[in-house]
């Protein structure tokens, strides 16, 4: 009887432990994420978002995974004597209790060799992987950066 209870306890603790390890929502908050809609003829795009680290230790984003593209990398754009260079980053660090914004012209999630042209209104599922094994699942809307009058904007009504 005693072993049965303890094994039941062990089992339930396993169940509780697993999800909190996979998705530490309280450690990192993602907001404003989107994937840029792709103009026809292009096969690359990028994802942008705000990453808020609510812990008092720096967090390192190591990788982003999604099955929409052949290859996904973390990049930064640096201006070297007026020439804009994309630099692959081994990781993107979010300082303790700080927010990092991934935006055009700066840090971004580079999505290369997209299998199907992404259109506004669609969603892209991706998983962010952090140092220490923490992961974060995310659904980012595809957004156009070109204003289409009266079409799907928020100024419509």
């Amino acid at each position: 009887m005693k072993t049965l209870i303890s094994s039941a306890l062990l089992l339930s603790s396993l169940f509780i432990a697993t999800p909190s390890l996979a998705c530490d929502d309280h450690k990192l908050e993602v907001s404003g994420s989107y994937v840029r809609e792709m103009p026809p003829a292009s096969k690359n795009t990028a994802a942008y978002m705000q990453l808020k680290n609510t812990t008092d230790k720096p967090l390192k984003l190591l990788e982003v995974q999604s099955d929409i593209a052949k290859k996904i990398e973390l990049h930064n754009i640096v201006n070297v004597d007026g020439v804009l260079k994309m630099q692959p980053q081994p990781y993107i660090e979010i300082a303790a209790n700080d927010t990092l914004t991934l935006k055009p012209g700066g840090y971004h999630v580079m999505i290369m060799g997209v299998k199907k042209q992404l259109k506004q209104g669609e969603d892209v599922k991706m998983t962010l992987k952090f140092e220490g094994g923490m992961t974060k699942d995310l659904t980012a809307p595809v957004k156009s950066i070109v204003p289409k009058s009266a079409k799907a904007g928020h100024s419509g009504t």
């Binding site: 103009p39 070297v80 994309m86 012209g105 060799g113």
Partner: protein, 202 residues
Amino acid sequence: MKYKSYAILLVILILIILSGRNPTEPTTTNSSLAPDKTAPNFTLQSNQGPVSLTDFQGKGVILFFGYTNCPDVCPTGLSTLTQALKQLPKATQQQLQPIFITLDPTVDTPSRLSEYLQYFHPNFIGLSSNQHTLQQVTQDYHVIYKRQPQSNSEFDFIQHTAYFYLISPTGNLSQYLPHQSSITSLKKALSMLVKTKQKELI
């Protein structure tokens, strides 16, 4: 003694590197690109045949160099330009001609460019040519660019300078703005550009 000669060598090396550095802005080294001088002419291919800069005398021209696979810089710049244009009065818009010249001619055919640019604005013209001709044009406009090879060549990128070159209705290079310019400052510059028409004709 040995260290001293190393130090001298190092200084010489640094000087060589510095002298070869590219200017931050496209005008600084070549007087032919200075504002108020005639913008260098070119003849390149659009999907509707050859196009020269001189075809647009009487209009303000916005020149932009880039490539369709550009993942961030070009779409951002083109989006800003589109929004600036759309916010201008119709009459002003009709006096402006945006032109995009590719830095990746092997991929960007005139028809591909046209398809890509239509997404942003129906008035955009996309131009391509052979490597040799484009080399000349980019040199004339002091565009610095370089293929940035990736581990898989399918994903090569091109590093490049990104400016809007504003050419007046009389064909003078009026000014150039960084691609990260705000919609507001671009809008202001564009309406100024068209206004120079009256001034220059008086």
